[in-house]
């Protein structure tokens, strides 16, 4: 049990390696079996997780390069636990729903490797190993987009890779500088001091405000491109537009979350002063993301692009929440990561199913689909409502918490960000109307088949989760809440500027009132 995290990380990778010898016709079954086991393992992890404790749990610490302070250091807390579960879930669902026909073996193996890197990113507390998984996750994605994508797939894949790679290299410089600072702080120069890349060690470090700002900027570039934040978002529409369904699902559901997770895990606790100083700029960017990309989404002609841009818009909400500096906002942000993961994943799957049938994603090709594909339309509708944040769906809980959290920071900005519920409805409903409503005019659509058993089987669990967690989010919110509260405590303790301390304290004191 103590090593469950290692098992979680490496099980898919080993399974992937073994997958090379499996016959082409059995590989999907193999992939599903492996991911089911992985999912069950992650559920076991959840079951044995102590939700009332904010401490890192299931810690494993094995030095790899002790001279340079690199170690294999994994653990989960409330913040990362559910991202791990979402990763295993979405990979499982993705594989079930996968409609790729060619080179399916390569696809399954690639997905398994991707799963390893994604879980690795979320559970690693050693920054270098985190970076390792972070970069490594690009490779399978590159392959998925490039090998099974649309006509512009190579362009999209390379753009995706290079863009994120560039950002993370700048982040790497930041990481190294931070390690150096830690080394310096821990005793002198050149081979005297202790090196460490362990995040928990770094958390103890108090940094000057100037240094914090620079490091914040370095980490920001790495994370912002991944999120992706305006104006670094343009790789995303290409990646989504060209990627096969499974690629888009994983990309939207998990890979984007790495960026926001990075902000919560790194930027906030490591650089509390800088984070507080950057609240307004980040919020402004987030609001631009919310409104601007929502409008861009409205202008799209391709269903998938609408959802791609909507991802950016939703990531704006997540960013906003992460910088609310109170439990509501940050917990909401994390919850919204999960919600967006599942909802956008499901939406991409839905679009993919349509694409499988008609080999087009243009809205102008459709219309009146609700007549021929009622089940499909219904599930699409539910996911759409979750996407626009209808209460009692998952989407609402996160969005509501983010907005209510950020309101304490700035009412005006919150109102601007709150337009998300309007502009989101505009593009989503217009998409729904153009696709599902109206007369069924296109001859080719008249004989479209509704969801088959496999598709239904892959979507229904997501629908159930979306509703379950919309109605009863407590099992997830509770551990998140505990961890976030302790993180905020840490931030307050760490802040160097009294103003920051005051600010975080004021955000936190509002929370304490009743507790």
């Amino acid at each position: 049990m103590d090593n469950i995290l290692s098992v979680l990380i490496f099980f898919p990778a080993i399974a992937g390696l073994l997958g090379f010898v499996i016959d082409k016709n059995s590989i999907r079954a193999y992939g599903i079996s492996v991911t089911v086991i992985e999912f069950v393992l992650s559920l076991v992890l959840w079951a044995s997780f102590d939700g009332t404790s904010a401490a890192m749990q299931f810690v494993e610490l094995v030095p790899i390069v002790p001279d340079f302070g690199i170690s294999y250091y994994v653990a989960v807390d409330g913040i990362s636990l559910f991202l791990v579960i979402m990763t295993t879930l979405m990979t499982l669902i993705g594989i079930i729903s996968m409609s790729v026909k060619s080179e399916i073996k390569n696809m399954v193996i690639t997905l398994l490797f991707l799963e390893m890197t994604m879980i690795g990113v979320f559970v690693t507390l050693d920054v270098i190993v985190f970076y390792l998984f972070w970069e490594l996750s690009l490779v399978p994605m590159l392959y998925i987009i490039g090998a099974w994508g649309g006509p512009l797939r190579v362009y999209a894949a390379i753009k995706f890779f290079l863009y994120t790679f560039t950002g993370s290299l700048i982040m790497l410089v930041g990481i190294l500088f931070l390690a150096f600072t830690y080394h310096d702080a821990m005793g002198g120069y050149d081979n005297v001091g202790v090196w460490s890349f362990a995040l928990t060690d770094w958390y103890q470090l108090k940094l000057d405000v100037d240094v914090q700002l620079w490091l914040f900027a370095a980490f920001f570039i790495g994370f912002a491109i991944k999120v992706p934040m305006f104006p670094f978002h343009t790789w995303l529409p290409y990646a989504h537009g060209q990627a096969p369904t499974i690629g888009s699902v994983i990309l939207a559901a998990v890979l984007l979350k790495m960026g926001t997770y990075g902000f919560v895990r790194f930027s906030l606790p490591l650089f509390p002063d800088a984070s507080v100083m950057m609240i307004v700029p980040i919020a402004v960017i987030a609001i631009i993301m919310i409104i601007y990309t929502a409008m861009v989404a409205y202008a799209q002609e391709d269903i998938k692009q609408v959802i791609a841009y909507s991802s950016v818009s939703h990531m704006g909400i997540i960013m906003l929440g992460a910088f609310a500096m109170n439990t509501q906002g940050i917990s909401g942000s994390i919850f919204q990561m999960l919600a967006h993961g599942i909802v956008s994943g499901a939406l991409f799957m839905l679009v993919g199913m349509l694409y499988d049938r008609r080999h087009t994603k243009l809205m102008s090709e459709f219309g009146g689909l609700a007549l021929v594909m009622p089940r499909y339309a219904m599930i699409f509708g539910i996911m759409l409502m979750a996407s626009v944040g209808l209460p009692l769906t998952m989407g609402f809980v996160g969005e509501f918490l983010v907005l209510i959290g950020f309101y304490n920071v700035s009412p005006i900005l919150t109102i601007l960000a709150g337009t998300s519920i309007i502009v989101g409805a505009v593009y989503m409903l217009s998409l729904f109307k153009k696709t599902f409503f109206g007369e069924l005019t296109n001859e080719k659509n008249k004989n479209l088949l509704d969801l088959d058993a496999r598709e239904t089987f892959s979507l229904v669990p997501l629908v159930l989760i979306v509703i379950w967690l919309g109605v009863y989010p407590t099992p997830i919110l509770k551990p998140i809440d505990v961890s976030v509260a302790s993180m905020l405590e840490l931030m307050e303790a760490k802040a160097t500027k009294p103003k920051t301390k005051e600010f975080i304290a004021s955000m936190r004191s509002d929370n304490k009132e009743e507790n």
């Binding site: 790899i64 970069e135 490594l136 490779v139 894949a157 390379i158």
Partner: protein
């Protein structure tokens, strides 16, 4: 009149010479065997060479660290040992590549292996001395052998390559001679430890700074040529293209690492004396090198030329570490090369495996990108292996070069050169493009030929070499600690 000169064997410390004597004797042995019995198969010579190198390897390991020998001409410090080990390992990996399934001209000469061993001896002399004379002679021995080895590939490209390399090498030798003369004129010594003392005294004499720096600059020109820094790198792509693929891979490592050691010894003196301009100049060159080589690599149509530019860029990377002048930077040089070695040699070996006698895809190039189109569908393992090498070169963790990059960048950050680390980072990002380009061709394009055209030149020994390279590239994370601590230990025990 001259009195009796008495020298004890103890004083001479001949032990320090053994590592060099072994390849020399081995080379002579090969020549003699050739005289006695002609037409022995190349596999015999290959194995002989490996055995000789193996013995050499053992003798290097048994050296005492920080030892001087033979009138202090020989200097066995940690750097010398580490470098010799690197050279020998690379050589042992290189030489089985002669066992291709197709015949190539150079391997039909037993002299090839003799020259190869002499070359190694030359490099070993280069790195185990701080006497400029011995460095120069060792350098020239190695270089002359190398020119010949290139030309022996025996096709018009390889002549061209050899001539280009030779001519520029001769000019560089002129610069080395002139630089040494200048330093000698300033200090009255050709031994670096003495030079350091005198320079330390004279550095503040009025009007002398230009001379001191100038001497360093002239030496730098010759080193820059060998290490392939901008704008002295121009030979690299042509020579690599003209030479056989494994030799090109070999050239991207061994001569460079040997020259790095010499540069480290020379500029270590300058940097220790606080002559800042030299550091700035080296750093500028390093930055220019990595950047320009990178952007030129972007537009290449041939994989081998691309790899040539990429190795220029990597050299720039390492040169920047050298300019830092910190222990960590110096450790970084060796760690980087140790890790880079396997990957790069592996990549060149993959080209070697796919080398045809006639150019099938392009009139101009041996290894155009098109050749590798759709490799994943033809030979999946081959494509995966090549992709691993490319990712490693691009610095994607956890493959070997990443750790080198990480360490070098960390060294730059520690030394306060954050801008340098950022430039390194951005360059790695640019570099990723051309490595990806090959991956794109291999994985994402449609194949246009059968399997034989790629596995044309394969043999079991080649596969073994590839296997070793892959294992090291992939598992580098597990031995990085050992490597790091060993190299750090050795560097700590060095003069500079």
């Amino acid at each position: 009149m001259l009195g009796q000169i008495s020298i004890t064997m103890q004083e001479l410390n001949l032990q320090t010479l053994i590592p060099m004597l072994i390849p020399i004797c081995g080379g002579l042995l090969i020549l003699i065997i050739d005289l006695i019995k002609e037409n022995l198969h190349k596999s015999f010579y290959v194995m002989m060479t490996i055995l000789i190198l193996f013995v050499d390897f053992g003798s290097v390991l048994s050296l005492v660290v920080n030892d001087r020998g033979f009138f202090d001409v020989i200097l066995v410090d940690g750097i010398a040992i580490v470098t010799q080990l690197l050279i020998l390992v690379t050589s042992m990996l290189f030489i089985p590549l002669a066992l291709t399934s197709k015949r190539f001209h150079e391997f039909s000469y037993p002299e090839f292996f003799a020259l190869f061993l002499f070359m190694i001896a030359g490099f070993q002399f280069m790195v185990t001395s701080d006497n400029l004379i011995l460095i120069f002679v060792g350098l020239e021995t190695a270089s002359l052998s190398l020119y010949t080895l290139i030309a022996m590939h025996n096709r018009s490209n390889s002549y061209e390559a050899a001539v280009k390399y030779f001519t520029m090498g001769a000019v560089a030798a002129g610069f080395f001679a002139m630089g040494s003369a200048l330093i000698y004129a300033t200090t009255g010594s050709v031994e670096l430890y003495a030079i350091k003392d005198v320079l330390g005294e004279r550095i503040n004499e009025p009007g002398l700074l230009f001379v001191i720096i100038g001497g360093g600059i002239l030496l730098l020109v010759s080193f820059a040529f060998k290490i392939s820094l901008f704008p002295f790198h121009t030979w690299v792509p042509d020579v690599y293209e003209g030479a056989s693929a494994p030799l090109a891979g070999y050239m991207s490592i061994v001569p460079k690492i040997a020259t790095f050691v010499v540069a480290l010894r020379v500029f270590g003196v300058y940097i220790d004396l606080g002559i800042e301009p030299i550091r700035i100049i080296i750093m500028t060159l390093a930055v220019l090198t990595m950047t320009l080589a990178n952007i030129m690599a972007l537009v290449q149509e041939d994989v081998k030329r691309m790899l040539a530019y990429s190795s220029i860029s990597h050299a720039g990377f390492v040169m920047a570490a050298l300019a830092l002048g910190t222990t960590k930077g110096n450790v970084g040089i060796f760690v980087y090369y140790a890790l880079f070695m396997f990957t790069n040699l592996g990549a060149f070996t993959m080209l070697w495996i796919s080398r045809h006698k006639k150019r099938r895809y392009s009139l101009r190039f041996d290894h155009p990108y098109e050749k590798f189109a759709g490799l994943i569908k033809v030979i999946p393992m081959g494509a995966v292996v090549m992709a691993l090498f490319m990712l490693s070169l691009a610095g994607v963790p956890p493959f070997s070069v990443f750790w080198g990059k990480l360490y070098v960048m960390s060294a730059a950050v520690d030394a306060g050169y954050i801008w340098l680390a950022i430039v390194m980072g951005l360059n790695s990002a640019v570099a990723a493009y051309y490595y990806l380009k090959l991956i794109v061709y291999m994985f994402l394009k449609e194949p246009n030929r059968d399997m034989n055209t790629v596995y044309y030149n394969i043999s079991k020994p080649l596969m073994v070499i590839i296997g070793i390279a892959v294992i090291v590239t992939v598992t580098s994370v597990f031995f990085f600690q050992q490597l790091l601590s060993y190299v750090t230990y050795m560097i700590d025990y060095s003069v500079i």
